[in-house]
């Protein structure tokens, strides 16, 4: 048993006029290894603390939050690697609903805006559409996104223009479909992004790459889309 100190962002619209930081300690034991384990303990002490969680293995994308100033997933963050008091805030830049829970509507709207599905209007063959291992490899580093929003909510361009800038997660997804040899609407996809805001608000600040818990690189994908734009312009 050991005690750990936390500073938690709290806000309950039912009763708080404005958000505040709560200082609280919790007893953890040797089996509590991830930050999420400690949050579960905290909730057993104070059941009013609200946060999202599900898979507890870094694959569902539920428990993204701002941890000591950096976005990450609570379930894969080593508890003992964190400096105390461990300061937890909701993801920045999105409206807070309650405590660590943000309204992700804008984030998903941008994801939906890039037509996140393979379009292929040639008649479907009896069997699978063939794709070489090399062509398939182009999707690695793209399809693994878990839509946790760590990246977009660390991106200054997304903070200022969440309604206009697609953001790193959405652009990573856009490139995932552009890069798929089975998708036939690349030029329509590029048209959709040819806009001073949707794509070109990215100023290569790289915050997104720094925080992605899956080790993905949205900046690189954005660069590839920009290259394609340039190439088709000439």
């Amino acid at each position: 048993m050991e005690k750990m100190r936390f500073s938690l962002y709290r806000y309950n619209p039912d009763k708080d006029a404005k958000p505040y930081m709560q200082d609280i300690e919790v007893e953890v034991d040797a089996t509590d290894v991830k930050l999420l384990d400690a949050l579960v303990k905290l909730k057993a002490v104070d059941d009013t603390l609200s946060f999202r969680r599900s898979c507890r293995e870094g694959i569902c994308g539920s428990d993204a939050m701002n941890i000591n100033g950096k976005n990450g997933l609570a379930c894969v963050t080593d508890l003992r690697s964190l400096k105390q008091p461990i300061t937890l805030r909701p993801l920045p830049g999105l409206p807070v609903i309650r405590d660590l829970i943000v309204d992700m509507t804008q984030f998903f709207k941008q994801y939906h805006s890039i037509k996140p599905y393979v379009v292929n209007d040639t008649p479907a063959p009896e069997r699978e559409r063939l794709q070489s291992p090399e062509d398939r490899k182009e999707l690695d580093g793209l399809y693994e996104c878990i839509l946790c929003a760590c990246c977009s909510t660390s991106c200054p361009s997304f903070w200022w223009n969440p309604d206009k800038f697609v953001g790193p997660a959405g652009l990573l997804a856009a490139y995932r479909f552009i890069a798929d040899t089975r998708d036939t609407i690349t030029s329509e996809r590029l048209d959709n992004l040819e806009d001073p805001y949707r794509l070109f608000r990215c100023h290569t600040i790289m915050n997104c790459v720094d925080v992605c818990p899956k080790g993905l690189n949205p900046t690189k994908a954005i660069g590839k889309i920009k290259d394609l734009m340039v190439r088709r312009a000439v």
Binding site: N12, P13, D14, K15, T31, V33, K43, A44, D46, D47, T48, S50, F51, R52, R53, S54, C55, R56, E57, G58, I59, C60, G61, S62, V76, I97, R98, D99, I101, M104, F108, H112, K115, P116, Y117, V118, N120, A124, E126, R127, E128, R129, L130, Q131, S132, P133, D135, R136, L139, Y143, E144, I146, L147, D180, R182, D183
Partner: protein, 588 residues
């Protein structure tokens, strides 16, 4: 009290693989469909599936659907319904091809076809030699499948109710299903969703165990709602223990690791599976491997300072294979076991993984319940698919990769059955009973007003400890009887759960309390069904009855909530077109 009523042709509870596949069918048919999910759909636990989805595509070696069927029947230890199994295995190639056409990023062979890997219990020639049947996207097959199905639903304009929790099933005086009640988490508001047809696709309930590969949200809500509505649950004694959960953490390491050549070692460095399953070795069926591991640990050949786990060795595969085919596993091992499998073995233990039983359905996804002499009378307007349903294709033990297949095959067939029902049998809504939401409202009110009650976290821990201790890999009469007694005592405590948080907006304490009501129903069903079954079959292994007893026990259990009553119904021994696969001794 009156609550808002929303009206749809179809309501689907669950946005995992099964719910999304069904939703696609209904949306594309132009029906007004609502999909409810406790979490954003891509956060459903299907996302965690790793190893693959089975289909006899024959991309690597010759394969046939009837070989797949044979393996599934054998894997089920002859408790699976052979009509449903035939249906699933026959449809598998078409279902997987369809996923590929939807855009699922399958790994590829040199010739451009879908990559298939070996998996436990997948054999050619009616059980003779291993065959590569598991279609895979690295070790992220569930993630790729779930995201693809979600994406396809975006295209089809499916209407989602995200972060809505269904509370109870609404049945009318005829016993027909006409809708559900639900809680919107963001506002705390209760509504009635009035529907011509309702599908449950609420996933598993692995959270009744303390060590589980399941997500926090896998609380068996669909099962709780079903049994509270008076419909019995089928075969709830059968829970699969996956051989390779990370010791301590419970996080899964896919069987695909052994498919790619990983092996299990005891503390003497011995590849012990050679003794238990000389033929299939490390790739024997899951119940067989889990039991062998438990024996090794029990007999003192476990590893580590407490000798409480065995080791999964894969470094001999080389960094290239590991990085290309098992990158997610490497990530999990580093994060949750603190070892890099390129260099060191992973400590693993058998961990609760999958629920074979569930809401009784036929292969069309229609829910069936006993009525008069008919053990399988259709419950009008009610459908179930995926892990919450019992078709029953998995019988007493599920083969790896057959669940993802089950989701898409039965998700689709349930969707088709619903379309037919809505068009032909219930073109107009059947009226709601009066005060349709009263029951749910009374549950909420009880929770609000409870004083001197029990903490949800405490009763949940108590339940998990009982189930873990009394319904684990080895079962005996004494252990089970004691378990039944203890779980009934916990159930009494659950009736008095209390929460401090009384607010409306995103009250997760309330949600966890409501989930607890469902978990306890599943825990009761599990222990009571297990205590009664006096034989060993598949995942239900009893020390005191070590053999399968087909004469007495080749039948499905049905457990009802009233007086904890058990009844039984026959296994479907008649496949749709092929010959019956007669019971044999199950050796690997």
């Amino acid at each position: 009290m009156s609550v808002p009523v929303r009206r749809f042709d179809a309501v689907i509870v669950g946005g995992g693989g099964a719910g999304l596949r069904a939703a696609l069918q209904l949306s594309e048919a132009g029906l007004k469909t609502a999909v409810l999910s406790k979490v954003f759909p891509t956060r459903s636990h299907t996302v965690a599936a790793q190893g693959g989805i089975s289909a006899s595509l024959g991309n690597v070696q010759e394969d046939r659907w009837d070989w797949h069927m044979y393996d599934t029947v054998k894997g089920s230890d002859w408790l699976g319904d052979q009509d449903a199994i035939e249906f699933m295995c026959r449809k598998a190639p078409e279902a997987v091809i369809e996923l590929e056409h939807f855009g699922m990023p399958f790994d590829r062979l040199e010739n451009g076809k879908i990559y298939q890997r070996p998996f436990g219990g997948h054999m050619a020639n009616f059980g003779k030699t291993p065959v590569q049947r598991a279609c895979a996207v690295a070790d992220r097959t569930g993630h790729a499948m779930l995201h693809t199905l979600y994406q396809r639903n975006v295209r089809a304009n499916t209407q989602f109710f995200v972060e809505w929790m269904a509370l109870d099933l609404i049945r009318d005086a005829d016993g027909d299903v006409v809708g559900v009640t639900a809680l919107e988490m963001e506002t705390g508001e209760i509504s009635v969703l009035h529907a011509k047809a309702v599908l449950f696709a609420t996933g598993g309930a692995g959270r009744i165990f303390s060590a589980s590969t399941n997500a926090f949200i896998n609380t068996g809500d669909g099962l709780g709602m079903t049994i509270r509505a008076g419909i019995p649950l089928e075969d709830m004694e059968f829970w699969q223990f996956h051989p390779t959960g990370v010791a301590g953490a419970g996080v899964l390491i896919t069987e695909g690791v052994r498919g790619e050549g990983g092996i299990l070692l005891n503390c003497n460095g011995e590849r012990f599976m050679e003794r238990y399953a000389p033929n299939a070795k490390d790739l024997a069926s899951r119940d067989v491997v889990s039991r062998a591991m438990a024996v090794e640990i029990y007999e003192g050949r476990g590893c580590g300072k407490n000798k409480d786990h065995v080791l999964l060795k894969l470094d001999h595969l080389g960094p290239e294979i590991i990085n290309q085919r098992l990158p997610g596993i490497r990530e999990i091992a580093i994060k949750f076991a603190g070892v890099d499998p390129i260099k060191e073995p992973i400590p693993v233990v058998p961990t609760c993984h999958y629920q074979m039983g569930g809401i009784p359905t036929n292969y069309k996804g229609e829910v069936v319940a006993p009525k008069g002499d008919n053990p399988e009378d259709r419950v009008n307007g009610f459908y179930a698919a995926g892990e919450c349903a019992c078709a029953s294709v998995h019988g007493a033990n599920r083969l790896g990769t057959n669940s993802l297949l089950d989701l898409v095959v039965f998700g689709k067939s349930a969707g088709e059955s619903m379309i037919e029902f809505i068009r032909n049998e219930r073109p107009a809504h059947k009226p709601l009973p009066e005060n349709a939401a009263d029951y749910s409202l009374s549950r909420i009110a009880r929770l609000e007003n409870q004083t001197n009650g029990e903490e949800v976290a405490d009763v949940r821990t108590a339940m998990q400890q009982v189930v873990q201790r009394h319904a684990g890999v080895f079962r005996t009469q004494e252990v089970l009887e004691e378990g039944v007694k203890q779980i009934k005592a916990v159930a009494e405590r659950v009736k008095r759960t209390q929460i401090k948080d009384k607010s409306q907006v995103w009250n997760t304490a309330r949600i966890e309390a409501l989930e607890m009501d469902n978990l306890i129903e599943v825990a009761l069903a599990t222990l009571i069904s297990a205590e009664a079954r006096k034989e060993s079959r598949g995942a239900h292994a009893r020390d005191d009855f070590p053999d399968r007893n087909d004469e007495t026990w080749m039948k499905h259990t049905l457990y009802s909530r009233e007086d904890f009553k058990l009844s039984y119904k026959p296994v479907h021994n008649q496949p749709l077109t092929v010959d019956y696969i007669a019971p044999q001794k199950r050796v690997y």
